[in-house]
Symmetry: C2
Subunit: 396 residues, 2 copies
């Protein structure tokens, strides 16, 4: 019986069953599926029902899920749509100001310098997935403000992940100006070279293979090849000190323009893998939350941190949007649109927890702050800016 | 560095890279991808290069791959296309005669009774995947003979898996007539009730969910639900003593007629999962082969077993096909078409090895016998029966 309960078949059934419950909850509370999945993860995790533990199996699938998720998100974007100066400035200020806000607040609450660095970093990155999903649900994806939000959110994510690498190094030892500069150069070089090699060489190789009779006989070859590259980019990113998911994201972006005649569709195929494995990833984020760590002091910190998280994005992104010539309403849409934190903040928290530089209390605070900011934007959007919009159908 | 090498990202990169090599080899030797994958698995496994070990991670992914593979194969078939009396008779004789051949030969070579039971069982099941793939490559899938081959191969697979369950029980202790009868009743009941519940209840539930606005908002829900059911059926099959993959296959067959309006396409989605995970499954079969177990005595047994494997299928399936009114040529096409063993034989071998009832020598013999029968049919087909056929494009 124990053998059956620890079998991959049983574990998968249970994870997917729980994931379905997450969707049902998300639908009940009219939220993105991500919220439902994390919530149900908390519920079945060790701190509540204790049905699912964070085993090696769950951890492996969750890791794969994070890589696949960021690869698929990357596939949605064209390099030139993202790389615009306005988006760059909004993103940069939208990283610096929340970082300062998070760091300052943490120091004020008496946390150590390394913890404060991780908390600051967790406030930097906007969730591309959640923002895009909300705008899609509201049928607003083609508006000017939406395009700025998404472009800036993507750059913001890269910057946030750079900040994560730096925090990571900072946590491992003392960091001086030179090592930060070196890390930044390595990270930027990885992004630039990775994207260039991806667009100019690997994409061409995939398209070349796709033209051969070989690909006609084995149309799955190019799909396996592309998925392998997502993981390879993940490892390469890790070897230069970035997170594996930055690598997967860069792989996705650089494969965006691949057109296959014989091979299976990359976006479609990776999207199906994402449905299963990203669900498990979001569940795992909840499973790792230890609710017992939520003391009254932590709750106060959580509330203030969440307010700081929203306000610093509103200022950091809304103000430069306004000065770039957008209306006040559009600037507010941009500012609030950048507020949801989601997966990157959670990954920051996870890495911090696993490295032992933040404790369970801070981990839980970041996860819940991330959930709250994510729920806040749809509420503001629906009730203030897009009151008359129909609740469009979300077709990923 | 070790941390990086054991990370799921690295393991996945390596497995997928090796899988790509398997495809290239398959193409070079003009064989099905399965052959290439197993071959390269042997090459990178512990007995040759030693790059990949059969770790828990590989084992978990391979288990998932086997479930997904049989689920996808199940999705290709309609219940009424399979359940025809002619197919049933061809399948039944195509199980009994090879079983007797394998059992008798093993006893003749001095193997123990339990080993002989497993070897006999390994000879029973035709590989649906390989046969269908070969007929598709030859562009012969719509012929009368092809339809009989596939229908009979499916029933044959179920019978083979029943035989596996019985062998399994036989290996665990002494089996009497009553316990065999009980097992058969349990297995048949599972198949019948599982298919009925799948077709009449679960398929309807999935289609009902698909009609709701909920599925419009979360089109991935029905896909996750169906994939979960594949694993749930797998566990249920195990609890009644069948292999998990029989369960997954029954789930697939009973979901064959589901038509979704809003949800993601099941066949397509499961097919993408299969591309990645079934490749890992086939690789893992090779990884588990210990070439050092191939002694000269074993080689002789292997050659005779392979001949017996082909001849018993040719007689067991070809003769009833002839008596059911098919021409000699068509009957030979059916007979040789049933010869490839493939995945079920390999699963039998794997279970036998893991239970400790067959040794590495027999395991390797079964795997290689399976590979040889699989390579034999395309050769015979191309050179004797379909000499003038173009080598059609295989588009799964």
């Amino acid at each position: 019986m124990t053998e059956l309960l620890t079998s991959p078949e049983f574990q998968m059934s249970l994870l997917l069953l729980v994931a379905l419950a997450g969707y049902l909850i998300a639908s009940r509370i009219n939220q993105s599926a991500v919220i439902g999945l994390i919530f149900v993860g908390i519920l079945v995790g060790p701190s509540a029902l204790g049905w699912i533990q964070y085993t090696d199996f769950v951890s492996s699938l969750a890791h794969m899920g994070a890589v696949i998720l960021l690869f698929v998100i990357g596939l949605e974007f064209k390099l030139h749509e993202i790389m615009q100066i306005r988006n760059g400035i909004i993103a940069l200020l939208g990283v610096i100001i929340p970082w300062i806000g998070g760091y300052g607040l943490s120091i004020l609450f008496g946390y150590s310098g390394t913890s404060a660095i991780f908390i600051g970093t967790a406030l930097t990155a906007t969730s591309i997935a959640i923002t895009a999903n909300v705008l899609q649900e509201l049928d607003q994806l083609q508006t000017n403000a939406a395009k700025v939000v998404i472009g800036a959110a993507v750059i913001d994510d890269i910057l946030g992940l750079l900040a994560l690498s730096i925090s990571n190094e900072a946590a491992s030892g003392s960091v001086d100006g030179i090592s930060i500069a070196l890390m930044t150069i390595k990270a930027v070089a990885f992004v630039v070279i990775g994207a260039a090699v991806g667009v100019l060489i690997i994409s061409r190789i995939i398209e070349y293979i796709d033209e051969t009779p070989f690909a006609g006989k084995y149309p799955e070859f190019t799909f396996i090849f592309a998925m392998m590259m997502a993981f390879v980019y993940g490892i390469l990113a890790e070897t230069v000190g970035l997170s594996a998911i930055v690598g997967a994201f860069i792989a996705g972006v650089s494969f965006n323009e691949i057109k296959l005649k014989q091979g299976h569709d990359l976006k479609e195929g990776a999207g199906y893998l994402q449905i299963i494995f990203a669900s498990i990833f979001f569940l795992s984020l909840g499973i790792m939350v230890d609710l017992k760590a939520l003391t009254s002091e932590i709750v106060l910190f959580l509330v203030v941190l969440t307010i700081i998280a929203v306000v610093t994005k509103l200022i950091g992104c809304g103000v430069p949007a306004y000065f770039s010539g957008m209306s006040i309403k559009e600037s507010c849409i941009v500012g609030f649109g950048m507020a949801p934190r989601g997966e990157v903040a959670m990954i920051v928290a996870l890495i911090g927890l696993q490295k032992g530089v933040i404790n369970q209390g801070i981990y839980v605070t970041i996860i819940i702050m991330s959930l709250l900011t994510t729920m806040f934007t749809p509420l503001i959007y629906r009730n203030c800016f897009f009151r008359d919009c129909k609740n469009g159908v979300n077709t990923p």
